[in-house]
């Protein structure tokens, strides 16, 4: 086993946030589910509501709120990962050992991602409640989980890049959050503004098909994690092109972040 992974996991689980964050995460998620259930059953009248409708609402609420929460948490684990080594002056010791830059990156990445995945796994019982109501199949749960993992891996890789580029954890975390906000919120705003301008310039068609919108207007949404998650709810045969395009974009972004992080670790000018 990579010594970095063992060290990182040991250190992370000793921190107070090792148990505090999963607890808070589950409390928030539980509250969101309870709220969604309450709203669904109250609005429609408990007697007339279909179990499958409740299941679908709970599932969608959970999937989106889980993604939002994890997008907020992922930079905490990754962005401080390399800067902490710089701050406590242990990075030189790592780089002059027989550990390669790749091993150091992999150890940091796996430990950051594993902690976020731990949160994802702890929410599975809550997710299974939605499954129990019906309307949701194993495919939806699988594709939503896979999509969330791809997004979190990409965000963790970006966080690690920021960590390698900055000296202080606070700066790396701030820039990581700026990137998360840019891809989650700014892309959506840009899309909706441009869509509105396009629709006001052209007579709106009766068709509301996504692919009727010109590609240059749709493009920002392919980097939006919430759109990526939405695309994952399509049936397996309709994953192309939206989900596949999003997956390629996120994997490319992640790979670019990995390459830049390794370059920074090999440069070592800021030790």
């Amino acid at each position: 086993m990579n010594p970095m992974i063992r060290k990182e996991l040991r250190q992370r689980m000793r921190e107070r946030r090792g148990w505090l964050l999963p607890s808070l995460y589950l409390v928030v998620l539980g509250a969101v589910v309870a709220f969604a259930y309450f709203v669904t059953t109250t609005d429609r009248g408990q007697s007339s509501v279909q179990g499958s409708t409740v299941g679908v609402v709970l599932f969608l609420t959970l999937a989106y709120s889980q993604l939002a929460l994890l997008l907020l948490l992922a930079p905490i684990f990754s962005a401080g990962s390399i800067t902490i080594e710089k701050e406590q002056r242990t990075l030189a010791g790592l780089l002059t050992s027989l550990l390669t830059s790749g091993q150091i990156w992999w150890g940091k990445f796996v430990s950051s991602l594993l902690f976020v995945l731990l949160l994802l796994v702890t929410s599975l019982p809550v997710l299974s409640m939605a499954f129990a109501f019906g309307g949701i199949g194993p495919w939806e749960i699988f594709s939503a989980t896979l999509t969330t993992v791809i997004i979190l891996a990409c965000v963790s890789a970006i966080g690690l890049y920021c960590s390698s580029a900055f000296q202080r954890s606070v700066h790396a975390t701030a820039v990581s959050y700026a990137i998360v906000i840019a891809i989650s919120v700014v892309t959506a705003i840009v899309f909706f503004v441009r869509l509105t301008m396009y629709e006001s310039a052209h007579r709106p068609t009766t068709s509301h098909d996504w692919y009727d919108i010109p590609l240059n207007i749709r493009a920002p949404m392919y980097v939006n994690p919430f759109f990526f998650l939405t695309a994952s709810f399509a049936p397996p045969k309709q994953l192309y092109p939206a989900w596949i395009t999003c997956a390629c974009v996120f994997i490319t972004l992640g790979a670019l972040a990995v390459a830049l992080t390794l370059r920074n670790l090999r440069r070592r000018v800021d030790l």
């Binding site: 063992r6 040991r10 406590q88 242990t90 030189a92 010791g93 002059t96 027989l98 030790l271």
Partner: protein, 311 residues
């Protein structure tokens, strides 16, 4: 064991190393002395493969540090100027992690960690948290970590910084023991008296270049059996002018300073040359009150070299 030829390194146009050259023999305890910003830390970082050089060559144990970095890492132990520790680990966990990082496993790892604990005098604190150790103990722990994989060469960048006098003495003793074990040590320090006590030779560095002392040496021999050039202080009764004339006439001697009744003379040669000068002075009618060998200590040499160069 360590060979550096014409090393150049710049940061954003600022030259940190400007053609520095250094040769350290196997088993030596070699000092590197220079003022802040002279390029000592840059040199250390290049030697331990943390930084690439712009031009020149650097070899450790015959291995080019740029090309064969991984093999060089097996040979060296590097102690940075501000070594860090993982505060939330126990002393043993800290050493085990770095033993893992140097690919020591199983029985080899246990033996290496036990030896490191013994060497650092931290065996009875192996279960303590690193956070609980004093600064001096942490420094010992980091040095112990540096020795885990039995390096042949130690690169120590200002290892005595921040240590109290007792810890400095302990460090000096430990370095002497390591040298006795055959480890080649390159140490940079501002604590000149520490270097003078333990080093076999000292190289002077200033503005990234080899500097020379008042006697023209870029490398100061501290353990040489007999220095080829010696400084004598001569005090005479009455006017020193006749003595100055005699000194200037004797081959192998050079007048460095003179006042009304006192001279500082550089004599090149063995003891017979010194005796010849004294005899010539006495025969020439000079009343010599004092004829003393003046050993330049390292601090004095350092001052003479760098006094005029401080920016």
């Amino acid at each position: 064991m360590i060979d550096v030829e014409q090393m150049h390194k710049s940061f954003d146009g600022t030259r940190a190393l400007d053609g520095f050259t250094l040769h350290v023999g196997a088993g030596e305890l070699f000092g590197l002395v220079g003022p802040n910003g002279a390029g000592k830390t840059t040199l250390m970082k290049i030697l331990c493969t943390l930084l690439p050089m712009d031009s020149g060559t650097a070899q450790i144990g015959g291995l080019n540090v740029d090309i064969r970095a991984r093999e060089v890492k097996r040979l060296i132990g590097y102690l940075p100027d501000q070594p860090g520790v993982y505060q939330d680990m126990s002393v043993r966990e800290f050493l085990e992690f770095f033993a893992d990082a140097f690919q020591l496993t199983g029985a080899h790892q246990r033996a290496a960690v036990d030896r490191a604990l013994e060497r650092s005098g931290l065996a009875d604190r192996s279960r303590n948290s690193v956070e609980q150790l004093s600064f001096g103990m942490k420094q010992r722990l980091v040095l112990a970590k540096t020795l885990l994989h039995d390096p042949k060469v130690l690169l120590l960048d200002e290892p005595a910084t921040g240590l109290d006098p007792l810890a400095r003495i302990e460090l000096r003793e430990q370095l002497k023991r390591l040298q006795a074990e055959g480890i080649t040590i390159l140490i940079s320090s501002h604590i000149l008296s520490d270097l003078e006590d333990i080093c076999t030779q000292i190289a002077l560095i200033s503005a990234g270049r080899n500097a020379t002392d008042a006697e023209g040496h870029s490398v100061v021999q501290l353990r040489a059996p007999q220095a080829p050039v010696r400084i004598y202080e001569i005090e005479v009764f009455g006017d020193s002018a006749p003595a100055v004339t005699i000194v200037n006439s004797v081959a192998g001697t050079r007048l460095l300073e003179s006042s009304a009744d006192r001279m500082v003379v550089e004599i090149t040669g063995a003891d017979d040359q010194v005796a010849a000068l004294l005899r010539t002075l006495v025969v020439g009618g000079v009343d010599v009150l004092r004829f003393d060998h003046r050993a330049l200590d390292l601090e004095e040499r350092y001052r003479m070299v760098f006094r005029e160069r401080r920016p």
